[in-house]
Amino acid sequence: MKKQLHWYDRLWIVTIIYLGLGFFNILFAWLGLIFFCLPLILAIGGKDKLYCNHYCDRGQFLALLGGRLGLSRKRDIPGWMRSKAFRYGFLAFFMVMFFQMLYTTWLVFTGARQLGMSVRLLWTFNVPWHWAYPVEVTPWAAQFAFGFYSIMLTSTLIGIVVMVLFKPRAWCVFCPMGTMTQLICKVKAKEE
């Protein structure tokens, strides 16, 4: 029995559009704040994990690559990777890196540091990305865009690697947004 497709089942295209736009103009990276805020707003607003369950473009993108396009080996994820320690540890690491990115933006804002026109992959490798900055804007706004795009591209790359090695949506197991929204849901359920 084939399931009825909804409009939100095609949101995988958003991942491609987002990463594509950021390749040509880094300022589009600001749109990524939607992917950060919406899951939290929905979870706090009583919609539980509606974002993960229906609207997550990345989850759909990875499911498409690993499922329909057959790029995944479809093996079980290692036990340690689905453990609570790893999930919460990865969330903590992700948050530290996020605030470090905000700090760099602050340094550029105060003039203590120059704008770095590169994307930092896997929090380590600086990849030149200067062509994606065609129109000059306030330096801190551009720095935030480069930093945010780095996070989005890095997490997509990790998602693709674990998609190939394990199951299509293996990223969802330790996705920081998913962990955060589940935590919010747990707290809300306890309060009830």
Partner: protein, 68 residues
């Protein structure tokens, strides 16, 4: 006639909803955004959810075993 087995999500479920999407009988729901819950009466134990689950925390349990 009820099937011999049914799906049972484990406590490490991340509530991503992958299982909900593949269940042909709509027997799975995400309870309060915390864990997947399977309606054992509707579940026929086809195993699609277990195969799809990215955390591999869904197991197929024999009904007799669960009843004991």
């Amino acid at each position: 006639m009820a099937s011999k087995r049914f799906a049972l999500p484990g406590p490490l479920c991340v509530a991503c909803g992958s299982c909900v999407k593949v269940c042909p009988l709509d027997a799975i729901t995400i309870w309060k955004g915390i864990i997947a819950k399977v309606d054992s009466k509707r579940c026929v134990g086809c195993g699609k959810c277990a195969a799809e689950c990215p955390a591999s925390v869904i197991t197929l349990v024999a009904r007799e075993e669960a009843a004991q």
